[in-house]
């Protein structure tokens, strides 16, 4: 059953070099995310990944087409959609005078939920930092904390915008584990990424975007099968990341 569906979704922006003209950041984009999957949107910078997410989340106005989350029209019922989605934005700053307990408490209150903030921190393995402030966290911890806040309303869909950009391999793998755990508990996850490993190992299905359009959409295996060039006769032994992890271990460094 599809939990997200967009039909010819479009977004126009003025051109940076000439404000009088405009271009389509997202151009008649149609995609379907099935309930229970981890769906990745892959693409170079400026391909329209974040704009697509923000239109589905209701942050950015939709210029053409329509989007549905769990069958609810995003444009006509934005507040009903906001009730069932959890969002981690690319810029994940919070009120910096509040602690890691007070912030999730605030988010729970915004959804009229009485969830224990500690239980959210436990989910993302940050219970020891309960009294810290967001500014005291490392990059990986910040991303995990951001996910904890996004879980305040026990969402059906979780949107992660470039969750592993800028993280070291340990933190990255840790975040992937967290995403799998949440997915196993029944949350559909939609994420954007530049990271090919992330797309290949974490996502069940991928949409590859360029210039506001989807150029391919399928499972990683099928995409590799269909689009990847033939492998070399003598395959390489793993890759640099395997080397890095073998030498430095998988233990978290936060």
């Amino acid at each position: 059953m599809p939990i997200i569906e967009t039909r010819e979704l479009s977004k126009k922006y003025p051109k940076p070099e000439n404000k009088a003209e405009s271009f389509f950041a997202v151009d008649q984009l149609s995609l379907v995310v099935e309930e229970g999957e981890i769906f990745g949107i892959l693409g170079p910078n400026g391909a329209g990944k974040t704009t697509t997410l923000e239109m589905i989340e209701g942050v950015t106005d939709i210029d053409g087409g329509e989007a549905f989350v769990d069958g609810i029209n995003v444009q006509t019922h934005p507040y009903a959609v906001k009730q069932i989605i959890g969002v981690q934005l690319q810029a994940n700053e919070y009120f910096d005078k509040l602690s890691l307990t007070e912030l999730p408490h605030l988010f729970c209150a915004l959804y009229h939920r009485s969830v224990e903030p500690e239980s959210l921190l436990v989910k993302v393995n940050l219970e020891e930092k309960a009294r810290a402030k967001p500014a005291d966290l490392s990059g990986g911890q910040k991303q995990r904390f951001s996910i904890a806040c996004a879980l305040a309303n026990q969402p059906k869909v979780l949107f992660l915008d470039e969750p592993t950009t800028g993280l070291d391999p340990q933190a990255k793998h840790n975040l992937w584990d967290l995403a799998r755990e949440l997915n196993d508990s029944g949350i559909t996850i939609v994420l954007t990424t530049h990271n090919m490993d992330e797309a290949e190992t974490l996502c069940q299905r991928i949409a590859i975007m360029d210039h506001g359009r989807i150029v391919a959409q399928d499972s990683p295996q099928n995409l590799i099968h269909r689009h990847a060039p033939e492998p070399p006769e003598a395959p390489l032994q793993g890759n640099m990341e395997d080397v890095f992890l073998a030498l430095t271990g998988t233990g978290l460094r936060d």
Partner: protein, 362 residues
């Protein structure tokens, strides 16, 4: 679900303010320090340093200097013309009076010379009449003549009113404006820059709840901080609040709502930190000088007065001053209340037009 969203948010905003030392110093300790500095030093005026060169060795000259010496307005230093000229040039004395050699009997008039520094003309304009009056008094005493008439100044108000009584209500109004504009204007831009507003936008938070939360927090903050200021003034500076406290707080609440609305306007217009600083200063500085905060609007150039009188801060400051120092009732300050009402409507309408949640957040 015991507390509703605006109250939770108001608590959060207050908590953040209380943890922000810089904000507290700026909005609470600064006005208090300012008030105390003015209040505790505005007693009697310092005497004017007057150098006297005595070229006549007569008894009359000695008596003349003696009489000047007893006058509290002057602090007299005797010396040679050369010494005192240097003192005058270096700014150690305000004026130098030279008694000529022929200054010896009360029947023939003699020419006294007064050396001044023209660069201090403004100040001299105030001092010279006092000095001439002092000379006349001295002359009368020396000649033993009774003055033809004398003037006694009687205060028609029963209370003594000093500059501090003028300053306190103005300072209250100014602090009120600062707390409000920084709360809704500056903070709004800061939260947007950090992406916090966008994060709040993707939750079901209603914009009216966000605004209400912020307004409640700042209102409470204003009431508490202004009460502290007023308390300090009453306890340490002997200021009396003559009017009705309920009326006073009503004006404070209305004023706070005006400036919070204006803050929302400024915060919605300004997209960057620099822009809000520029806009904020453009809004705050003219009112600081024109709205009768530190000196009365009457003392401004005639041309500016009509403009100054209709500034929002002028109405608030005047209303507060009328209540605090004159004990006016709400009925007596109807003109100010009307001005406040007009600004309330203007700022509220502008704020609802300019503050579009989606645009402000992203």
């Amino acid at each position: 679900m015991i507390d509703s969203v605006p109250i939770t948010l108001a608590r959060v905003f207050l908590k953040m303010h209380l943890r922000d030392r810089q904000a507290i110093v700026f909005s609470l300790f600064f006005p208090i320090a300012f008030m105390l500095a003015f209040g505790l030093s505005s007693g009697s005026q310092d005497p004017i340093e007057l150098g006297v060169v005595n070229n006549s060795q007569s008894g009359l000259a000695a008596e003349f200097i003696e009489t000047l010496n007893t006058n509290p307005l002057f602090s007299v230093t005797e010396g040679s013309e050369h010494e005192l000229r240097t003192a005058l040039i270096e700014g150690d004395s305000k004026m130098v009076l030279i008694l000529p050699a022929e200054f010896r009997d009360t029947d023939t008039g003699s020419q006294l010379r007064l050396l001044v520094d023209k660069a201090q003309m403004r100040q001299l304009g105030l001092i010279l009449p006092m000095f001439e009056k002092a000379l006349v008094t001295v002359e009368r005493e020396l000649r033993n003549t009774e003055p033809l008439f004398s003037l006694t100044v009687e205060d028609v108000k029963a209370r003594s009113q000093g500059y501090i009584d003028f300053l306190i209500p103005g300072l209250l109004a100014f602090t009120l404006m600062q707390i409000s504009i920084s709360g809704s204007g500056f903070n709004l831009v800061e939260y947007r820059r950090k992406g916090i507003l966008k994060r709040l936008f993707v939750t079901p938070l209603r914009p009216r709840d966000f605004i209400l939360g912020l307004v409640l927090a700042r209102l409470l903050l204003c009431l508490v901080q202004l009460s502290v200021l007023l308390g300090v003034a009453v306890v340490f500076l002997d200021v009396t609040v003559v009017g009705n406290l309920a009326a006073l707080y009503l004006v404070i609440v209305l004023g706070t709502v005006i400036f919070l609305s204006m803050g929302f306007c400024l915060g919605s217009l300004a997209k960057t930190q620099q822009a809000i600083l520029a806009l904020g200063n453009l809004f705050i500085f003219p009112q600081m000088f024109l709205s009768g905060i530190f000196f009365p609007i009457d003392s401004l150039p005639k041309l500016v007065q009509p403009l100054a009188a209709v500034l929002p801060l002028s109405f608030v400051a005047n209303a507060l001053r009328e209540i605090v120092t004159n004990g006016s009732s709400l009925l007596e300050i109807l003109p100010e209340l009307a001005g406040i009402a007009v600004w309330l409507v203007i700022s509220f309408v502008l704020a609802t037009r300019l503050f579009v949640w989606k645009e402000v957040a992203s």
